[in-house]
């Protein structure tokens, strides 16, 4: 539980500065420092156990079924990083109190800083890789906020955007890698993943996983060629640079390298990618650092170079190299954070960071100068300071690796070259700033900073010296514990002594120191040479690249999404052809073994008519009335097909729906053009025909394949239980109103909703009402033919009687609520057609939307009624009664439900057609002259 608090305290700390925003600055800063201080104490509470080689775990169940838990793990490596994050974080809080001016919003800064601290703690303490990734992204976001803290500066905004883009893109790669790892190992648990190194490395996906994983690490840790964001992030306030860009965030990538070392490292690919990237970064960073005139720019490139050094150490693949890597993480964090803070002090107290202006500050701020010089000396690797020790270990390791076969000697040489430049830029930092004449053109006179602003630097510099002199006492246990969790338990023998005797590594150090001094003395020639090279403006290049990328994406997207529904449909149908067609290609034969029924003359005629009329619909589709007539024949043939293949209910439904559909489309043609203009180009027509044929071929083949295959139906249950359980012999109807009654209820609800939607769509529609048909012929004067009026009136009672008959027999013979409802609707619509809306309305003034509601209510109440008998929703009940004269009849609750269906169907159909019809007939303009 204390583990959880170590993580939670910084998170709670995010709120503290916001709540104490109105306090005095020092009080606010102190309050902010309390939660991380407590977290640090909790951490120390675990220290003895950690140094003894133990590790702690804590899991809080969240969604156990998905393997998602809040899972924390504290081992040596996590301890080391937590110490850096919390310890340096506290120093930064103190430092920022004095660094930020009165105009800057200190609470906002602290809130961002604490958020960032939480994110970093989350990364190092996570025991679940998805949780780790979440915090990883949070560092990107919170560092964006911190870099853009001075958002009124354009360079801050641009730098922040660049950092977010690069690290965010890397984060996505990392997510992919972690998900793949989860797939390979079957778990997102870090313990499991770390323990399955062999499985991962033998898996076919390993190269992909490794590359994605390294992309995530390298972007975060500013490795070449992704290093360019770090110098641009220097637009951030200096406390941010000291914290994020020296000690913590850029180390997150290194942390991952170390964390996943047992799982991912050990292959040739790892050595090649990691060590070569590290080596390149080491050299490029060290070289470029020398030429930066900006103090923070120099430190930024130096950081890049040192990060490259650590990466190279982890890439060498020997246990000792990994130990050296861990050691250098500690050392680099201490000296670089103090250097950044010193640079901030110089900037703060002299008003400039430009080394061409800053000279001879020794006279103005001797204490700060001494501190900075010690830290810079540690950076250069001067003996008796911590940087010397890890650099020495690094040189030893470069001598002992065999990465490049017989060319391996090149690595120690290049390492020495990097060391030379490292000494050169450190010397420049010291000599240019503190000596080398007098300041030029400074806006204010430099002076020593406030006492407590210098304190964090003092603490870190003292640590540099202490580690440098007595490494074993100060960091021995920490290093051992951290290395042991990197290496998975076994730590090789190593000695942290200052003096190892005269050896090659010492010689390399001496060469680096001497060479560095030499280069610095002759720097003018090198600067002249560097100035002749074409400069690369990273930020503009990056933004141009981003812009062109965005433009390309837009172009691509524009091609997909051009606002043409036809094009989307083509994409969709092509996908159907591919997805449904490919499996068919793998099928040996379509025929499934079920014998076909014989074709007789009737069927052949029906099929021929179907095909001819369907074809005619397509051919005449521009003459819309003709197409409508043709498709009505298609519908008729379909209903005949249903009759032929033993589906009388379907045939009846299809027939009545056909009638209302055609009436509906006829009505619609009143408002729509009667002809379709010829617009498609011949190529478009050919494309559409071929696509349509392909879809047709695929669907037809699938249909044939299904029909000729034997199958086991679940319908036997319905057939067996229709009579005994549902009380009816028409199984289709019993399924509708009983077995699957709930589905039917949903379906009539949809029908009702559709009709109500249509009703709403038609209100206040600004319709165009033509006074003649498409060819200019006026509407017939005789609105309601006498013959039709007479016949339809006498037909109405007959039709209603038929519908009642169909309704009641539905439970046992073909029929039922759907069909009866449609028949009634058709009979009523005929009255509208024959007599007009006004005539019907004066005789039958019903609001059909109410009818729909009543129908749905009947169905619902029938369903709910079964609750009264402690039965589930829509349980049906039936019994037989002997009634005089009528004989023995059956009464079933399903009849009531079917009545609900009936009423809903009638109401919906009439609502749709009557609403539309009303608009065509009322106030129709008439040509008077054309009689």
């Amino acid at each position: 539980m204390t583990l959880l608090w170590i993580l939670l305290l910084p998170l709670l700390g995010t709120l503290v500065p916001v709540l104490t925003a109105n306090w005095r600055r020092s009080a606010c800063a102190t309050a902010t420092a309390i939660p991380p201080a407590i977290a640090l104490m909790l951490l120390f509470y675990h220290s003895s156990a950690i140094f003894a080689g133990e590790s702690f775990r804590y899991t809080l169940g969240w969604i156990p079924l998905l393997g998602l838990d809040v899972s924390i793990r504290l081992d040596g490596l996590a301890f080391l990083f937590s110490l850096l994050i919390l310890g340096i974080g506290l120093l930064i809080i103190l430092y920022a109190r004095y660094y930020l001016s009165e105009q800057d919003s200190m609470p906002r800064f602290y809130a961002y800083l604490m958020l960032f601290m939480t994110a970093m703690m989350g990364i190092v303490l996570s025991n679940n890789v998805l949780q780790l990734w979440l915090f990883w992204e949070l560092t990107s976001i919170s560092s964006f906020l911190l870099i853009s803290f001075w958002w009124h500066k354009s360079e801050a905004r641009r730098g922040a955007r660049m950092a977010l883009t690069v690290t965010g893109a890397g984060g996505l790669c990392l997510l992919a890698a972690l998900l793949l790892l989860g797939q390979i190992t079957g778990s997102y648990d870090l313990d499991v993943i770390l323990a399955s190194g062999a499985v991962i490395q033998q898996h076919a996906w390993y190269p992909l996983v490794l590359v994605l994983f390294l992309l995530g690490c390298f972007t975060k840790s500013a490795q070449f060629p992704f290093h360019f964001w770090l110098p641009n992030a220097m637009a951030a306030p200096t406390p941010v640079s000291a914290y994020l860009h020296s000690a913590t965030m850029v180390k997150a990538g290194i942390f991952l390298l170390a964390r996943f070392y047992p799982a991912m490292a050990g292959t040739d690919l790892w050595f090649l990618l990691v060590s070569m990237t590290g080596l390149t970064t080491l050299l490029v960073g060290a070289y470029l650092a020398l030429f930066k005139h900006d103090l923070k720019g120099l430190l930024a490139y130096s950081t890049i170079s040192h990060l490259g050094l650590i990466t190279l150490l982890f890439g060498m693949g020997t246990d000792l190299a990994a130990v050296a890597g861990v050691f250098h993480i500690i050392n680099h964090a201490t000296f670089k954070a103090s250097l950044f803070m010193a640079a901030g002090i110089i900037d703060h107290e002299s008003g400039s960071r430009d080394m061409r202006k800053l000279n001879g500050l020794w006279h103005f701020m001797p204490i700060t100068a001494t501190l900075a010089m010690v830290a810079a000396a540690a950076m250069a690797g001067v003996p008796l300071l911590n940087g010397f020790l890890s650099k020495e270990m690094f040189f030893v390791e470069t001598l002992q690796q065999h990465l490049l076969g017989s060319l391996s000697w090149i690595i120690p040489v290049l390492a020495t070259v990097a060391g030379v430049f490292s000494v050169a830029y450190s010397t420049r930092f010291i000599h240019d700033v503190f000596f080398n004449g007098k300041p030029k053109g400074l806006t204010k006179t430099p002076h020593e900073p406030p006492r407590y602003m210098r304190m964090p630097v003092e603490v870190l510099v003292v640590l540099c010296i202490l580690v440098g002199i007595a490494p074993g006492y100060i960091v021995g246990d920490l290093l051992h514990a951290a290395s042991s969790s990197v290496l998975g338990g076994t730590v090789p023998e190593y000695s942290l002594a200052i003096w190892h005797g005269f050896n090659v590594a010492l010689l390399m150090s001496v060469v680096a120191l001497a060479g560095g001094a030499l280069i610095y003395i002759n720097r003018k020639h090198l600067f002249d040479f560097q100035n002749t090279l074409p400069g690369v403006d990273a930020i503009n290049t990056f933004e141009l690249a981003m812009k062109s990328l965005a433009k390309r994406c837009q172009q691509f997207y524009g091609r997909l999404d051009n606002g043409s529904l036809q094009r989307y449909l083509v994409f969709l149908l092509s996908a159907v052809v591919v997805l449904a067609g490919l499996p068919l290609l793998q099928l040996d034969t379509l025929f499934g073994g079920r014998p076909e029924l014989p074709v007789d003359a009737v069927n052949a005629t029906g099929a021929a008519m179907l095909l001819i009329t369907a074809f005619a619909t397509v051919v005449f589709h521009r003459q819309r009335v003709v197409a409508l007539l043709m498709i009505s024949v298609v519908g008729l043939m379909v209903s005949i097909a249903f009759t032929r293949f033993s589906a009388p209910d379907l045939a009846l439904t299809q027939l009545s729906v056909e009638v209302v559909t055609i009436i509906l489309l006829m009505l619609a043609l009143f408002f729509l053009p009667h002809k379709t203009p010829k617009q498609s180009s011949p190529t478009r027509v050919i494309r559409d025909i071929s696509l349509a044929s392909m879809v047709g071929v695929v669907i037809g083949s699938i249909s044939y394949a299904i029909m000729t295959r034997p199958f086991n139906t679940i319908s036997d249950y319905f057939l067996a239980n229709a009579k005994t359980g549902g009380g009816g012999t028409n199984v289709v109807n019993v399924i509708l109103v009983d077995f699957r009654g709930f589905d039917t209820f949903g379906e009539i609800a949809v029908l009702g909703i559709a009709s109500l939607g249509i009703f709403k769509l038609l209100t206040r529609i600004p319709v165009f009402k033509p006074s003649s048909d498409g060819e200019g012929r006026p509407w017939a004067l005789e609105r309601h033919p006498v013959l039709l009026a007479t016949v339809s009136q006498s037909l109405l009672p007959l039709a209603l009687m038929v519908s009642v008959f169909i309704f009641f027999r539905g439970h046992n013979l073909p029929g039922g609520g759907f069909i009866a409802g449609l028949v009634t609707a058709v009979a009523l619509i005929l009255q509208y057609i024959a007599h007009g809306v006004e005539w019907v309305k004066s005789r039958m003034n019903i609001e059909y939307q109410r009818v729909v509601a009543v129908g749905l209510m009947i169905a619902l109440v029938t369903g709910v009624a079964s609750w009264l008998f402690n039965k589930p929703f829509l349980t049906s009940w039936f019994d037989y009664f002997d009634i005089p004269l009528l004989g023995k009849i059956e009464l079933a609750s399903a009849i009531a439900f079917d009545a609900g269906v009936y009423v809903t169907v009638v109401g919906s159909t009439l609502l749709i057609l009557a609403s539309l019809g009303k608009m065509t007939t009322s106030h129709r303009p008439v040509h008077t002259e054309s009689i």
Binding site: R594, E596, L611, P648, F818
Partner: protein, 117 residues
Amino acid sequence: MESLLAGCIGFLTACGVFLMLRGRTFPVVVGLTMLAYAVNLFLFSSGRLTLQGAAVLGTTDNYADPLPQALVLTAIVIGFAMTAYLVILAIRARADLGNDHVDGKLPETESSRKESR
């Protein structure tokens, strides 16, 4: 027989798809109606074809599969509701936008492009 019906289903699908790919609303509605026939027949045929076997108990020994029939029955009715909705949408679109193209605006033809220059 099965091959004949499968051929019909395929042909109806092809016709429906072709009409759906047209640019004006009415042919699209007709195409959808046609496709609905094909889909209904397809679903129905997944219960295999049976002659003289209406699923009414006591009338035959060889019942047709009633389940696809029940499903298709509601599908027909809902298909009608959807067709109607689409038709009304098309009418509304023409009333509000002044044309009956599916995209709500007439595509730029060569001549109109020249005019706008």
